[in-house]
Symmetry: C2
Subunit: 217 residues, 2 copies
């Protein structure tokens, strides 16, 4: 499967690209294509050192990541979400994964959703009606994605109104490390999944824990 990552050089993009490129063709998108190409080269070299010689990864613009991905992952900080999407086209019929969490902070972190109720529901409003929005990967910390030597042994709740797209994304989730996809129901439930991230950040803060993850069992 060809996976385009919008915002692929920042935040969780690098670890995500790395962990996906074992089994999939990755297009790392960035506002600065040079940066994406540099990251792609470093990622391919790193995998080659580990004996993975056929990794397919390319640097690209964000628009090229959308155009060439069967699946597009929006690896974008919530505050840049609307402006990033405003500058891109071609989402028709694509599976679009959102790991985006609208979070703010006072003395503690809290869920700060848009009027639609969640970032995923806002994305659904902003993108063409035929795009297939799936919320996933919301609750894994960027640090965990980056530490490639560590297993990711968490639950990943996947929410969508498109059952086929949801199934495809659940298979994608299950192809990464020890992640286990769980069907979380319709896209409306993304509000709970997104709001879990500030709770997780608070739990880490108040209990002196690091990179807290979650498991449903």
């Amino acid at each position: 499967m060809r996976i385009g990552i919008v915002g692929g050089t920042g935040d969780i993009g690098e670890g995500l690209a790395h962990r996906l490129s074992h089994e999939h063709e990755i297009i790392i998108g960035s506002r600065e294509k040079d940066k994406a190409c540099t990251m792609s080269k470093s990622l391919t070299d790193n995998l080659a050192e580990k004996g993975v010689l056929d990794a397919k990864c390319a640097g690209a613009t964000n628009q090229e990541a959308v155009d060439n991905g069967d699946i597009v992952i929006l690896s974008v900080n919530y505050k840049h979400l609307e402006s990033t999407l405003a500058g891109l086209t071609g989402f028709e019929d694509k599976i679009v994964i959102t790991p985006v969490n609208p979070i703010s902070k006072k003395d503690h972190f809290y869920f700060d959703p848009p009027a639609e109720g969640s970032a995923a529901l806002e994305i659904k409003r902003l993108l063409p009606e035929s795009s297939r929005i799936v919320a996933a990967f919301n609750n894994i910390s960027a640090q965990k994605w980056k530490r490639l030597s560590e297993k990711l042994d968490y639950s990943v709740v996947v929410c969508s109104d498109d059952e086929d797209a949801k199934k495809t994304v659940m298979e994608l989730v299950n192809s990464i490390s020890e992640l286990k996809a769980l069907d979380g129901g319709p896209l409306e439930m993304s509000s709970v999944v997104e709001s879990l991230t500030p709770l997780i950040l608070n739990i880490a803060k108040y209990n002196n824990m690091k990179d807290v993850g979650i498991k449903f069992f």
Copy 2:
């Protein structure tokens, strides 16, 4: 510690009373005192059979459960919460634990909070200012509480604006089976913790799982 359980004969009350009565004095409150006394007798007999001879458990009215508990647990379905609290007094200075979740259902379960943002925040508004509200035990299924032979090996997120009350409740949580208390921050965060319960119910439904619990690690 003396723990009064309002609504102690219903829902999670029985399992909660049973598991707490190993180490604490329990007052099972009910609208029907006879029912509470019957349950208390059965619980004490059951523990005696297992060799626990000094369990202290008594049946009572809900008002007596409030009056005699150092800690009061509101084991009440959300739809009866307001009417139950309207009929009770004496919450001044008490630690009040709320495991209450405002949930509704259409094709799936969803979080259906009051205007305050969560059941815990509504309770804070309804009770005297000196009562010390703590959200805890929100995400453990009634079935799990009931099956006394099974370990409870979950995280329990505890939220409160009263740090001392929170600490006391975290110790109480840690005294039950393998439960692990986690400080979830201020009472405001109870909205996320309560909203996790419909997500858990949906995960159970959509993934053919039973009595789903949660662990943060």
